[in-house]
Structure formats: structure tokens, C-alpha cells
């Protein structure tokens, strides 16, 4: 157990001892969306071995990052403590930083509801949104469907359950102003590599219904600059 210690008395070291182990940060990412059951986490992290999930949740609890809470009469959720929730700006900043180095998706890469929710949060530009009229989008990426409502600087994202009826949370009523479907290539819209028109032309995105003109607003509301160059170093 002491083998995990980095042997330094330092805040950064303590932080990575708490949330630096493999998978831990992704568990935190998903819990930032909301409390999750063990099975939810396992589904949202399809490649995590179950024993690792179990171990990480124990460690995160010991570290005061995560708490177990009963749900209804039977059932159980994991949720972030107040201390754990303070990681939100850090995880968002990390997501923004990592976004810029994302390449094309690997053949086995998936987009989960929680990861897309957090990705939109990282890309959200409150300043840009404040200058636009309120908008209500329904975004589909792969199997994931999200209702994304932007009103001034306020962002609200709800996950639409595609295979099953919604659980607990009340879903937005009424139709979205714009419904569109995309693949992982939506990254290139958010990075500004493609304009909405180009994205449609290149088939990375398709409008299902509603006002296609709102795509411009979507693209300026959710945006992460690609740097001039983030080259992988040559050998």
C-alpha cells in the first residue's frame, strides 16, 4: 500500500495519490454529471474491469472524494462529496486541454452519455452564449441522445434514454428547436475545423428536424480552439 506513495510532501503529489490512479479521474468525470449506481458506472466505462471499479470506489471513499448513499429503499448510488465536487473546474480544464490533442477515434472508441455531457460542458462558451437567443437542441451522437438547453449563460444538459424510459429526472417537455445527429466527427465542428455547412456536406452531421440555421449558434456556443499547432514530436 505504501508502494503507492510518491514519497513527497506536496499538494500535487497528494492530489495524484487521491485521483491519479488509472480510471479514477474518469469515475470522477462521470460522477460530476450526477450520482451513479455501480452498474451505471460500469456501463459508462465499458472497458473498466469490475474489480478495478470496486477498488477505485473504495479508494475514492477513503480519500473523501466519493460517498456512498442509499437510493430509495433498496439501491445504492455513489456521489461526489463537496470536496470531490471541487474537482469540477479541474476536470473541465483537463477536458479542454485534452480535446485539443484528440485525433480521430480509434475503431473501438465509444462516446458515452456522461463523457459527451462533460465534453459539452468543457466546450461551453458562456460569453458567446450570452450574446445569442436561448436555444434548445437535441443532440445525437452514436447511441447517445442529449437535450441541450442554452439560455444566456446558463447551460442545462439532460440525457435522453434511448433504449429505456427515463429514470427519475424530469425530462424537458416539448420539442427541441433543432434536432441533429452526428458521429465522433462532431469534434471537428467544435474545434472550428469545419463550419456547420461543411460538416453537413461532409456527412459528419445531419439535421433531423428543426431549424438548421441554429447550427451556427451551436457551433459558437460550444467551441474549443485548436491551437495553431499541437504537433506530436518527431523522433
Amino acid at each position: 500500500m505504501a508502494s503507492r506513495s510518491y514519497g513527497q510532501y506536496c499538494g500535487v503529489t497528494t492530489a495524484v495519490e487521491l485521483i491519479g490512479e488509472r480510471w479514477a479521474m474518469l469515475i470522477v468525470r462521470d460522477l460530476l454529471v450526477g450520482p451513479r449506481r455501480y452498474t451505471d458506472l460500469k456501463q459508462g466505462l465499458p472497458k473498466i474491469p469490475t474489480n478495478i471499479l470496486s477498488t477505485r470506489l473504495k479508494e475514492l471513499q477513503e480519500g473523501g472524494v466519493v460517498r456512498r448513499a442509499p437510493l430509495y429503499r433498496t439501491g445504492l448510488v455513489y456521489e461526489l462529496t463537496d470536496y470531490g465536487r471541487e474537482l469540477e473546474p479541474i476536470v473541465l480544464a483537463l477536458g479542454r486541454w485534452g480535446f485539443r490533442q484528440m485525433g480521430e477515434p480509434g475503431p473501438d472508441d465509444v462516446v458515452t452519455a456522461d463523457s459527451l455531457t462533460m465534453a459539452l460542458r468543457t466546450a461551453f462558451r458562456a460569453d458567446a452564449a450570452a450574446g445569442l437567443p436561448a436555444a434548445d437542441y437535441e443532440v445525437h451522437v452514436g447511441e447517445v441522445a442529449l437535450r441541450v438547453q442554452v439560455d444566456g449563460e446558463h447551460l442545462r444538459i439532460a440525457q435522453l434514454a434511448p433504449p429505456a424510459p427515463p429514470v427519475g429526472g424530469r425530462l424537458p417537455t416539448g420539442e427541441a428547436d433543432l434536432v441533429f445527429a452526428a458521429g465522433p466527427g462532431i469534434r471537428r465542428l467544435i474545434s472550428g475545423e469545419l463550419t456547420p455547412a461543411e460538416a453537413i456536406a461532409q456527412d459528419v452531421l445531419a439535421v433531423v428536424s428543426g431549424r438548421a440555421d441554429l447550427l451556427e449558434g451551436f457551433a459558437s456556443t460550444f467551441h474549443i480552439d485548436s491551437p495553431a499547432a499541437v504537433p506530436a514530436a518527431a523522433a
Copy 2:
């Protein structure tokens, strides 16, 4: 190699694939202080196996985070790329977050020059410093000696070479307004758990020379609030 992939197409995931491996974040932390040679890094991370350091540096270069640069005629340094340097606010925020969960130092824990430098940066309160007169401290923690100069919102930290050859080799000391020495317990001063007077009384800190009254200014310039409670969960 593909075994390292988390199988998700997401910015956070990409980020932890780049800098989430064991030791990687600490390498970045040290490089945020300045370019470092291989040997410097090894010294600053006493417990890192040399093959791991070597591997991480290669991975960080492939990820576009770190670059190798020649130094003088012979010699070699590792330094952050522009992209890597953008991690600075994230690492500082992580340090601030982790600081609050730090307990007492383990028997083998060390404080290195780079980790203390970054710790002071994380704790620096520009707003508090702006209201105080400029001050020039010399801080000793264990073997580490730092020259810490605060002028308004500007902070400058220089590392004084501690393993000074024989006692005669005096470094640019003596000019600081206040010279003091502490142990790891300096954490309790920065957290506000102890006032400067209490820290001296409890022997966690000793004024070597200069104006002891400046300790108040130091404590308000470098401060990280401990939350009301950051409890470790019970079993």
C-alpha cells in the same frame, strides 16, 4: 500499447492518456518550474525508477507535452512545449485541491525544491499580496532554500543551491528582509491552522534573521483555506 487506451473518444480521456500515467504529472510539475536535465528530474523525484522516468519522458514527447532541447555545447534539457505549459493552471489547481487533504508527512516523505516552489505558487494570493508592501523572504524547509520575492501581484521564486560546498560559499543571502526555517509543518501555517506566533511557539518554524513581523505578511500572502471538514470516510 493499445492496452493503455480507455476506449473512449473524449477530451478528459485523452488528457489522462497523455499525463495520467504514474509519475507523469509530477514530471510536469517540476518542468513547470523550469527546464530540467534528466539528472535533475531524477533528483527531484527521488523515488522514480530511472526506466520509468525514461519511458515517461518519451511518452510526454510523443504527446507533444515535453520537448528535448540542447543545452550549451553539451548537455540536454527537457522542457515543456507551449502546449505542455498550458497545464500550469491545472497543476496549480490540483496542488491547491490536494493540499487540503494533506495529513502529516510520512517518515520517508521529502520536500524538494521544485515541489516547494510549486506549492508556494499554488498558495500565492495575488489579491492579498497586492495590499501589502513588497517583501523579500528566504525560506528554508529541510534541505531546500528558496528566495521568495513578492512585489504587488508579482511573485518570483529562486532556488538557492543548498548543498553548498564548504561553509564559506555564501549565496546571495543576507539581503532578504526575513530569513526563516521550517519543517513540513509549514503546511499548518499556510492552512491557517497556526498563526505565525503559534508556529514559532510550537517550533515548526524559526526565524533565522530579519524582521520577524513580516511573517504575518507571508502567512496572508501564501494561504490555502482548509475546508470546514474534509473527512476521510469511515469504513
